[in-house]
């Protein structure tokens, strides 16, 4: 499977471990990534706050660049913000003729052009979940994460607004849960899995930013989480980088390492921790990772039989969707 690859600024430096682990895992799973030539920043959520046309032109330049990878109409972005920006631009330019016209003229000024709809922008999680699939992933696992309690953390921008290709529930996504299960991890039914890390809030208002981080870390801690698995560099930066500052702000003492899901996939495939960029995290995952391999007693198969004196009312059937 061949894809155009859009790393995004974060993966150059701050989230380099996400980049290396992504590339390693991808090649192991037989995916070919061709990096988009001379790509630029997607503008995050900042540019669109200042100038609509400029913001969309900035993004559209990347789409235009991507079309230079002839034959590749699938674009993969590991960063949720980049993914949403690219995906949204492609959609909005297809709908808003007036904006599309302005953006088209702007691109022309740089000798570029892009026809909305000609590319299919997807997030790495979605590609691994749908194109590779759980079977292939399970098959690739050599060193299952048995005993490691992992909280899947999706954040906002791949499940909302509902552009997600997998048609995931914007409130209660499950693809990452399933992937982590496939890796043999003990998946925490994490109620905060799709809540917000606060984005740039730490820079705008510490009270707000740190509170939003606290909710997520506490939520994970309440469920005895060993590791939080993220799919976005911004989320990782907030939960990992600011965890210490948050602890000081609320005089708490949480210590929950935050890894990229690709790092965990790599480990489960038997790749060396350092090749996965393990150790780059500020809150060290070393201690948690020692758990991998330690066996735990298997969960009882099927629901327990109903006792005579049991008065409890049956739970509603979970229906489709939820795992």
């Amino acid at each position: 499977m061949k894809y155009s690859y859009f790393p995004g600024c974060s993966l150059e430096k701050n989230a380099a471990s996400y980049d290396v682990s992504t590339r390693a895992v991808a090649s192991r799973l037989g995916m070919q990534f061709t990096e988009i030539e001379d790509w630029n920043c997607c503008g995050a959520t900042e540019y669109v706050s200042l100038n609509l046309t400029a913001a969309y032109s900035l993004i559209a330049r990347n789409l235009a660049q991507a079309t230079k990878n002839t034959g590749l109409d699938q674009v993969v972005a590991p960063c949720s913000a980049c993914y949403l920006n690219l995906r949204k631009a492609d959609k909005v330019l297809g709908q808003d003729a007036r904006l599309a016209d302005r953006v088209g003229k702007a691109l022309a000024a740089g000798g570029l052009s892009y026809k909305p709809g000609s590319l299919h922008v997807r997030h790495l999680l979605d590609v691994l979940y749908q194109d590779i699939g759980l079977e292939a992933l399970t098959a690739a696992v050599t060193k299952p994460l048995t005993g490691l309690r992992v909280a899947p953390y999706y954040g906002c921008m791949i499940v909302r607004p509902s552009f997600h290709n997998g048609g995931e529930d914007p409130e209660y996504p499950i693809s990452l849960d399933k992937i982590l299960k496939a890796l043999g991890a003990e998946v925490v039914d994490y109620p905060m899995k799709a809540h917000c890390c606060g984005g740039h809030m730490t820079q705008i208002s510490e009270d707000t930013g740190f509170e939003m981080i606290r909710r997520l870390i506490k939520g994970a801690d309440d469920y005895q989480t060993d590791v939080i698995a993220t799919i976005c560099p911004m989320c990782q930066l907030n939960l990992d980088g600011f965890q210490g500052a948050m602890n000081r702000h609320f005089s708490t003492n949480y210590h929950i390492p935050v890894l990229y899901f690709t790092q965990l996939i790599g480990l489960a495939m038997g790749m060396a921790p350092k090749d996965m960029g393990i150790g780059d995290e500020i809150v060290s995952a070393a201690k948690a990772l020692t758990k991998i391999g330690t066996a735990v007693e298997p969960e009882p198969a099927g629901p327990a039989r109903r006792k005579k004196d049991d008065k409890s009312l049956p739970m509603p059937s979970r229906g489709g969707g939820v795992a």
Partner: protein, 187 residues
């Protein structure tokens, strides 16, 4: 099919500025947005209240509100809104109007956006260290101590560059953005 409001040009301005903003006309003031917002408690008006104010034509108060600047783009309001109002987009639109007309009290957030974009426009890529450095010094010099360990960690672990990467076709990008701004100004 809706009639443009003659009595409330501000409503029309907002609707025109936000892609899909027309849905704003159907707001039923249920508060799903205000209830969903993770930074809601720190906003001086909930989004719902802001929409009521837009409906009341209170341009100045709305643009000066910190509400849009506290939006973290989590899109919870957008997916939950029973009237399918693209609330996040409307927040972006309000920010653009406030910046364009220089009407905002809370200077931290707009400044952050500007600083961020400064690097992007000059190099084509963003630059955490520069961004956080400049921003911290401007707005929260003491805050730097709070996150010292992080900063150090980030640097020692090589997670933070000391100079942003410059893209090859930078002048091309600059031409694109210049043209874009020119067109935006006319729009």
């Amino acid at each position: 099919m809706h009639r443009k409001s003659a009595s409330n040009p501000f409503l029309e301005e907002v609707v025109a500025t936000a892609p899909g903003g027309d849905a704003l006309r159907t707001c039923l003031q249920c508060g799903t947005c205000g209830g969903s917002c993770p930074s809601g408690p720190d906003m001086d008006h909930t989004p719902r209240m802001l929409f009521a104010m837009i409906n009341g034509g209170m341009r100045e108060q709305v643009l000066r509100s910190n509400t849009p600047w506290y939006c973290v783009s989590c899109y919870y309001c957008t997916v939950r809104c029973p009237k399918e109002i693209p609330i996040t987009e409307i927040m972006y639109a309000l920010k653009r109007l406030a910046v364009r007309d220089g009407v905002y009290d809370d200077t931290t957030a707009p400044d952050f956006s500007k600083t961020f974009i400064h690097w992007v426009e000059e190099y084509g890529r963003s630059f955490e260290l520069g961004l956080m450095g400049v921003h911290m010094i401007r707005h929260n010099p003491f805050g730097a101590f709070k996150i010292m360990d992080m900063g150090v960690g980030m640097v020692t672990k090589g997670r933070m560059g000391f100079a942003p990467t410059r893209i090859k076709a930078l002048d091309g990008l600059k031409r694109i953005l210049a043209k874009a701004k020119e067109l935006e100004a006319q729009a």
